[in-house]
């Protein structure tokens, strides 16, 4: 028997090429069946929540701001 024929046949004590692919095919089919049987559960999309600290009001009617309003209304608003 030639060396190439030896390698094609099942080795002693090991798994042969045909058995290997047969086992591999069976395993893949079983895995695919397992995946197909699990229902798809999409994860919930999370919107960005900036939090209260970021969205709190920063505007204050300081003397600086009052001066701005006053100077912009010099011509028209009553002093």
């Amino acid at each position: 028997m030639r060396q190439s024929d030896k390698t094609r046949k099942d080795g002693e004590g090991g798994i042969g090429r045909r058995q290997f692919f047969r086992a591999l095919g069976g395993g893949t089919a079983a895995a695919a069946a397992a995946v197909a049987s699990v229902p798809l559960t999409p994860t919930e999309a999370q919107a960005y929540d900036p939090g209260n600290a970021e969205t709190r009001s920063r505007y204050r009617e300081t003397d600086h701001v009052k001066a701005f309003y006053r100077t912009n209304g010099y011509e028209t608003l009553k002093k």
Binding site: G51, T55, Y59, H64, E75, T76, L77
Partner: protein, 198 residues
């Protein structure tokens, strides 16, 4: 609760671009982009008007509606801000915005834009107030300092008004009553031509 608004009295704007320069300097806005611009209508013709434009901090902001990563949020002052940590630079907000406010500082390979940058109404971003991280990403936070946007405070002709919407509306109404006419640059007749009945 006060609602922050911009209002440009176009009859007073002389197109000096001080608001643009002040904004760029205050926030160290990168080369090539402006958060605020002065638009001139009928340039060089009788009836020429200029109007200073930036983000108008819309109540129902279209930029926020189209953002795929939801990086926009509205503060209690009705200022529309965004998180540059979340922004992916897709450019949808630029196409959605009727004022052309969103800008992109970097143009990379294959059309990548970098993080969007826009007017923050001088009120920073999601980082802690007046922090270095906030300044680097969004510029100064004048609202937290008890001030108003610098563009309006710098306006030499008092054309650009900023602050509590009710207060600046009152100032503008008084001006219109005194001079007898409104703006020639914006309003229903500008948007829908002279034929519209108001």
């Amino acid at each position: 609760m006060a609602r922050m608004k911009f209002l440009c009295d176009a009859d007073r704007c002389i197109e000096c671009n001080a608001c643009v320069t002040a904004c760029k300097n205050e926030h160290e806005v990168p080369w090539g982009i402006n958060r605020r611009r002065v638009i001139t209508l009928n340039d060089g013709k009788p009836g020429e008007r200029s109007v200073s434009m930036a983000c108008m901090h819309c109540t129902d902001a279209p930029c926020a509606a189209v953002c795929p990563v939801n990086c926009f949020y509205t503060t209690a002052d009705a200022v529309v801000l965004h998180s540059k940590d979340l922004c992916i630079g897709c450019g949808y907000c630029f196409y959605a915005c009727p004022f052309g406010a969103p800008q992109y500082p970097r143009v990379g390979n294959f059309g990548s834009r970098g993080k969007m940058d826009k007017c923050t109404y001088c009120s920073g971003g999601p980082e802690p107030d007046l922090s270095v991280a906030e300044y680097e990403k969004y510029g100064s936070n004048r609202l937290a300092e008890g001030k108003l946007p610098l563009c309006a405070e710098m306006c030499s002709t008092k054309s650009l008004l900023a602050g509590d919407g009710e207060m600046i509306a009152q100032i503008y109404k008084e001006r219109v009553i005194k001079r007898g006419y409104g703006s020639g640059a914006w309003g229903w007749k500008t948007a829908y031509r002279e034929t519209i009945a108001i």
